[in-house]
């Protein structure tokens, strides 16, 4: 899976105990399976010891010249036991897979659900890649951890068993052998730490390669237009070989650990042999004991190293868990109330002393009071940053206001069921987002059961019939990511149709047709007049014609409403509107066209 963006360091919010407890809740539904798994692990650990003993006994029999028939039961027993062991391992393996996959799925789903419920502020603050990495990378790390936990347990089990056995056989030699343990553990931990660091920089380098690759592909037409392909290739080569460099460093650490352990274990063999020999000569041990120790040495070291490295995998699993939970637990402020109002809206909107700031100390709206009657059409104009779009966002309850209240049909919007509220407000914004899928899927996004006639009707309203017909498969044309393959104007027309099809009572057009050509826009405007008749509409406008068609014009400046009225009245006032007219709208009028022409005819 892709590695997206650097991981954000979080302060520790949860103790390990919290995390474990919480995690066990996910395991709750699988109690019976878990019991089986645990029994299975213990059973297979025990059963593993038997086959060698059986082999040993049968050889004893053969040595005593008991004949091959005497060995037959052992052979059969061996087969049966091994088969049993195999079945046990398969069953445990399958159960672990099933449980792990279900748990991971559950966690992913919960993360996703919480994303869907998260305040928009959350998305404003974090890059897409970062959020995605919570659902993809972190849950992957969690899966790794889960897979490791069972191994960890059985390794620990083996370690304890082997150690016990060794103590029983010869405690002196065991103590000598144990001297190695802290070194081995330390080396393993250190290596693991180095591995983690080098893996970190390697991952970051891969991230850079991916980002660069993705950007190059997304901006391919620019690269082609500027003939920059060669240069891009060179740049990529540099980033790409960086990855190689880090990969080498990492490989050095990762590959180093086992041979090093091998070396240590050789010293161990050496030590045990020497000390053991002296013990033999002193009569404190037999040769077979030493041989046993030599054979057990690796069974002791291997799990020890494993346990050390698995320990840190588990740690990073915990970290991932923490990151995931911090999203799931993030406080959501914009929610439906306990007893929500659910009703059909009439469309009477009133803003009462509304103030809003997204960042402390940076007010976006200041004390806005505005009453829009049901069925009224108002135009909102103002400079960039005047707070026009904020009005739309607040009405949709994308954010909650800091001060004042917004009411629809005399009920505060915070008292409505969130879904009930939003589903009756349609927002067409300048920045269009289309989903992958067909044109039809996109238009029907808000009303999946719409009939062909209904769809055709809205397509006609937004004057999109012509271009849709010209698409290779008409309405059934598959759109690429974010509507790739369509022009900005075409995408706006589809998004417009999408909103109209959902048939909202309140319609907000936020520069909805900015990228549509003037002629098409004019046609849309004509059709829209009829459509807006029984709806309340707020039009954030950039075109003169749209403004002139509205019932009332609201002029905003620096988060305040400074003027309101119709075009003529406002022009007479010679205030901000007439100024805005001079700045924004005049250049759509005929006089300006001749005026600016001088620039060209010099």
């Amino acid at each position: 899976m892709r590695n997206l963006g650097p991981k954000v360091a979080y302060d520790r919010q949860y103790s390990d105990m919290d995390l474990i407890k919480r995690f066990f809740r996910y395991l709750g539904p699988f109690k019976t399976m878990l019991v089986f798994i645990i029994i299975g692990i213990i059973a297979s650990a025990i059963v593993t010891i038997f086959p060698p003993i059986m082999v040993q006994n049968s050889f004893d029999l053969l040595e005593a010249e008991a004949g091959w028939l005497a060995v037959l039961p052992y052979a059969i027993g061996y087969v049966l036991l091994s088969l049993f062991l195999w079945v046990l391992q398969v069953v445990v393996g399958i159960m672990v897979t099933i449980v792990t996959q279900k748990v991971i799925k559950q966690i992913q789903l919960e993360t996703y659900i919480s994303l869907q419920e998260q305040d928009l502020m959350f998305f404003d603050k974090q890059a897409t890649g970062q959020i995605m990495s919570r659902v993809t990378n972190d849950s992957q790390e969690l899966t790794d951890m889960l897979n490791v936990v069972t191994q960890f347990v059985s390794n620990l089990l083996v370690l304890v068993t082997v150690l016990l056995w060794m103590f029983i056989v010869n405690w002196r030699l065991t103590l000598v052998t144990l001297i190695m343990a802290p070194f081995v553990f330390l080396v393993a931990l250190t290596f693991r730490r180095i591995t983690r660091r080098t893996t970190g920089s390697w991952r970051a380098a891969i991230g850079a390669v991916n980002a660069s690759f993705q950007e190059s592909v997304s901006g391919i037409s620019i690269a082609k237009a500027f003939g920059r392909e060669e240069k891009s290739k060179e740049e990529f080569e540099v980033i790409n070989s960086d990855t190689f460099k880090y990969a080498k460093k990492r490989a050095f650490a990762v590959m180093g650990v086992w041979p090093l352990m091998d070396g240590i274990s050789t010293i161990g063999v050496f030590g045990i042999t020497l000390y053991g020999s002296s013990l033999i000569f002193g009569g404190l041990a037999t040769a077979s004991t030493i041989l046993l120790f030599l054979l057990l040495l690796n069974r002791f070291l291997y799990p020890l190293v494993r346990v050390a490295s698995q320990f840190s995998t588990i740690q990073s699993g915990f970290a991932a868990m923490e990151r995931i939970f911090s999203i799931v637990d993030a406080e959501i402020t914009v929610t439906s109330p306990a007893n929500p109002e659910i009703k059909k809206l009439e469309g009477h909107i009133s803003f009462e002393n509304v103030s809003q700031e997204y960042e402390k100390g940076v007010p976006v709206l200041k004390d806005i009071t505005l009453d829009i009657k049901s069925g009224e059409s108002i135009a909102v104009v103002g400079h960039t940053g005047a707070g026009k779009t904020t009005i739309a966002s607040l009405l949709m309850r994308f954010y909650d206001i800091n001060k004042g209240s917004i009411k629809i049909d005399d009920v505060d919007i915070r008292e409505y069921d969130l879904h009930n509220l939003r589903s009756q407000i349609g927002l067409v914004s300048q920045d269009v987002f289309l989903f992958s899928g067909t044109v039809l899927d996109n238009i029907r996004y808000g009303h999946p059961t719409a009939s062909k006639e209904e769809v055709e009707k809205v397509i006609n309203i937004v004057a999109a019939q012509e271009f849709i017909d010209a698409l290779p498969e008409g309405l059934d044309t598959e759109l690429g990511e974010r509507g790739k393959g369509l022009s900005a104007g075409q995408r706006q027309m589809i998004s417009f149709a999408r909103t109209l099809l959902a048939n909202p009572k309140i319609l907000i057009l936020d520069e909805a047709t900015a990228a549509v050509d003037a002629y098409t826009e004019w046609k849309i405007q004509e059709a829209l007049d009829k459509l807006l008749a029984d709806r309340t509409s707020i039009v954030i406008a950039h075109r003169l014609t749209t403004i002139k068609n509205s019932d009332r014009i609201i002029v905003m400046d620096q988060g305040k409403i400074v003027e309101e009225g119709d075009h003529e009245t406002l022009m007479k006032r010679k205030g901000l509107y007439s100024e805005l007219y001079e700045t924004y709208f005049k250049h759509q009028s005929a006089e300006w066209i001749s005026e600016i022409s001088e620039v060209f005819t010099d």
């Binding site: 082999v55 052979a75 180093g256 992958s436 290779p472 060209f600």
Partner: protein
Amino acid sequence: MKHLMKEKSLLTILMTFLIIFIGTVSITPLFVGDIFGELVKQTGALNDFLTSSGLVILQLNAPSFSGVIATGILIAVAGIVRAVADFTQSYVNEVLAHKVTQNVTEEFYDNMLEKSQEFHDRVRVGDIMARATYDSRQMNIFIAPGIKFLFEASFTLIFSVSLMLWISPKLTSLLLMALPFYIITIREYNKKLRPISQAQMEQNGLLNSRLQESITGIRVIRNFVKEENEIKEFDKEIDKLREINTQRGIISARYYAVAITVLIIALSFLWGAFEVTAGNLRLDQLVTFVFLMMTLMMPTWQFGWTITQFQVGMAAAKRIHEMMERKEYVPEPTSPKELKNIKGNIKFDKVSFTYNGESSRKNSLEKINLEIKGGSTVAIIGNPGSGKSTLMKLLMRLYDPTGGSISIDGVNTKDMSLSNLREQIGVIEQEIFLFSKTIGENIAYGKPDATQKEIEKVAKIAQAHEFILGFENGYEEIVGERGVTLSGGQKQRIAIARALLVDPTILILDDASSAIDAETERKIQTAIANVLKNRTTFIITHRLATIKNADTIIVLRNGHLMDFGDHEDLIQVNEDYRNLFERFSELPPMKTKEGN
């Protein structure tokens, strides 16, 4: 494979150390046996133990205590040599894998850049990225422990089997009879695994794009109150993935050729016991044989793993290659004509274009004939989807026309090298794509060696200098998620500067944004008017002033050239065009045009 073979020196090192490693691994038990040879004889009880461990093969003469020390040192030396060899071969194997991955990624990248625009219009970025990341990683994994495993397993196998043959050909042949069963098991396993791995990769990709979409499109989802629906869909998709993963896990868990192995060992042992009873085989030989059989476990596991990963790796390689091998390039001429100091006379001769070249689909452009004099300004207008942008992309040869030809100064664009052609053309796209680099670097994109002075000069012409200085880091400000967010108008001005810096003879301005205030617009218009001189400029625009003042106006409708002329001509003959202006001013009455 081809890539692998390129790294001959690395492969040689890898092989050498592999052999040393395996050699030392094989001889160590000899030394251990050496030490205990004598002690073994003394303690009868030890025999039991040795039987189970198989060390009986090494019954050698027992030395004294000093001999023990000497052999101990030998063991230590052998151990160190082994450790070093092991490390070297593993490390070199990793390096090899990463080297190959690096080369493949690079080749893939280069290839993607060379692919035609049509290819990129159709193929999702996510799809390309999945191959560049996940698939290349799978190849990497196959090479990294894969090759090592393969050789280790082969050597161990050869070593053990020859020893076994030497001890008892009869028993060995019995064992070898099991081989076909074993191979069948592995093949069955892989047959099951392959489609599942494929499905897993695809589902992963799907899930990723779905996730990304629902994050970037969160506002739309909220707006249409589709959260429940999105969650349901996502649930369905991850459940599919879970299903696939579980299936894969179950297949892997079930596979342990253990069942067969155990049977064979037991059978061989029984047979061996029979032989011993019959006096055809010594007991210690049987012990050795059983011990050797056990050493076969690891290589068989390694073989199994390698073959599986080989399948996955090959599937991944296939996916990468399949994409690279799609022949979707705009062809370069074999002996290109080099144009210099062009005038910018452009001729479209019966130019037709269909996306993907499929005749069943509707034409995007149909038989466009146009002749444009060098240095003139051409405004292109038309409804969305009428082919305005396509016409320009044909000029740049982002696509090739499916019919007709385009020439510059009388030279067919197909006869020019792509770089020569595109050098002449500057473009300001409708949707401005800026790279997540600094503003300065973005402006200098087409001319990376430009001086700060040059950059500032064009930024001033494009009216961007002022607002750039308004940023905290000025020209060093980074664009995009990590840096500053630019408005549409600001992006456009940076793009204008970017295009101007390369000083092209032909300029294409695909102007969609209309949300610029009049003052800025006046500035931009002034700037453009300044740079228009001595350039052939195409402007796709909604700005009436720009349209009116163009030397030539092209009216497109659904891929057809409707009308062609200057403002005065068009208000007379083209109704749509007339409508556009009539809303703002009184125009003289229209001429009736024949056949229109």
